[in-house]
Symmetry: C2
Subunit: 404 residues, 2 copies
Amino acid sequence: MALIIQKFGGTSVTDADRIREVADHIHRCKQRGDQIVLVISAMGKETDELLTLAAAVSTTQPGRERDMLITTGERKACALVCMALHDMNIPADSFTGSQAGFVTDTNHGNAKILKINPNRIQAALNADRVPVVAGSQGVSTANDVTFLGRGGSDTTAVALASSLKADACELYTDVSGVFTTDPRMCSNARKLTNISFDELLEMTAVGCPKPAMRSVEVAQNYGVKLHIRSAFTWEQGTWVGKEEASMEQPIIRSVIPDTSEAKITVNRVADRPGVAAALFRELANAGVNVDMIVQNASADGITDISFTVPETDVKLAHEITQKLATSIGATNVTADPEIARISLIGAGMKSHPGVAATMFETLSNNQINIEMISTSPIRISCIIRQCDAVAATQALHDAFELAQ
Amino acid sequence: MALIIQKFGGTSVTDADRIREVADHIHRCKQRGDQIVLVISAMGKETDELLTLAAAVSTTQPGRERDMLITTGERKACALVCMALHDMNIPADSFTGSQAGFVTDTNHGNAKILKINPNRIQAALNADRVPVVAGSQGVSTANDVTFLGRGGSDTTAVALASSLKADACELYTDVSGVFTTDPRMCSNARKLTNISFDELLEMTAVGCPKPAMRSVEVAQNYGVKLHIRSAFTWEQGTWVGKEEASMEQPIIRSVIPDTSEAKITVNRVADRPGVAAALFRELANAGVNVDMIVQNASADGITDISFTVPETDVKLAHEITQKLATSIGATNVTADPEIARISLIGAGMKSHPGVAATMFETLSNNQINIEMISTSPIRISCIIRQCDAVAATQALHDAFELAQ
């Protein structure tokens, strides 16, 4: 008999029919003899709707009240799931974050878990009842309701899995697992059977939309193996865990395209200490998320700096950089949104030289120019023209035989 | 400086605009120097919507989960009101039933308040902050969220007013006060300046829709004076309190029509002990709400019994009564939905004989036949034909000079 934590995201519980489907699934799980703890997100787009309502009512939206508002979504979904389980003669109890024993700091909107007292959850399990926990919430040390932030239901699930020493933590979503690439760009994108935390973290950092990066980080920190699977097909998904050195690994796991960024280039800055610091301190103060930075040391003391930011930040980043241009001796600042970042991810590249060469040759063979290059031990990213994104993705997917 | 509890019902906080209107009003109150505690109901029809959703998901709907679900409505409204107040630089904090110190029994869906610890509310008031309390909820002795029942926000407001020894308890709604009769039936219906608990209780018992009977009972039990007023016109409303013997009273306060009932008549039952008991025990076991019962002692040992029930119960009541008919010796059972009950209410009738006579004469002068009569010390009700309801209401309103 296994203890499994199962978390269901918004699309999985979006309406009454979906909630009853989930209850059916739990019924099948119980028949197999497993102990289940459920973690439930708000239904469908409810969190967005609550935030829209908040914005219509108020511009200040103090954190304590925002958390009180947002957390009603998970509680509502939670109670409904319990009701559906009761209909199937499965005794189930809802647990708010507080009742589930989640104590957090007072950082409203992004609260950190300080400790978990899983007593009530454990008591329910011992009584052969299914605990249904409202995701992404807790109670602060000041006795206020707190929200763990967007994607926080995954955190709740992982933290519970760790605290209860569960055998598995399953994150149910609207995709059937983690794929070798975006299936909308490559028809032969293949679902991965397993992947390491580090590889998946790199993938989510460079544009893979599911799962939330935070949930992978949390799972890695807590040492909890994840199973990413579909709440619609119920098929086996992708297992995520520590890197297993003994397993024969493919060199590359996936190629991830991302068209959501823009590039800013500062031409001919003086190549001296302090230039980069001044620029990126200004950008950081303004809350601009800088992603890739590329600068080459130069022979003549003059260099270019290029960096990428989310498209939503490019206007602000451009203004800041232009203001600074003169004082850092730059001649010109340009902003270019028509870029795409293509990333190869794979722990195997640490032990297999030649991956970068193969990547560059493949792009070159397809007449795709590389504008920036950035690497980590298990990832190579190239900035190319946005119009080349599909062709680049397909070519690399084939070149590294990811469909096999 | 007065301490005022202000409760806002669903229509008063139905959307973002209304919520900001309420915040404006609180701003004006604060400028007058009053201390305010707010009690907020769920927005608009949200409670109904949540219950509809529950019914779509589940037929069993265990009480604990129903309460968790329903109470999200008040919490949501509460948080939004706080945000609107913050926008106006009025420091405000939301309080769940639990945080407001409401400890209840475990009777989910209709929980009774066992005690109130108003410490956090008082601390907020001392810090010159506006506490905004989610109505109709508490935490049970088993540490579960509980719902006090429909109309429970009024209970929350009254209980707080008593606990905090407030100067006033204002129930804001979508009518501007308590009227001498249904304004839809009489164009010269007049708003009452004040009324006693007992009179208002009788009125709500016989069909006056606002306020909820329960809130009047609770106010009377706690000895808290109520002010029923409009959240749209903000004008002075109707004060409700103990009967003041010293005040010069009108004899009659109001005439209340009610067309929502049906009559069942059992003909020629044996006039012996046990007959009525058998019939009404069966009806009670089936959950049928019996309102008026009329039976006359007879000379020949045979009598008729008539009683009224809500139209929604008439089919069931008719079936039950027919089943019992033979064993209680009745010859016939008829059901008649085309009735109306017209009630006169006034504490003054205790000391003014002739009210009944005037009522009967007025109806007779208007060719309106009286089918059943039932009285209490401060109320006289007559059952008449439904088609005569408007005429009867207007005639009695005039006869007792209620427009003055």
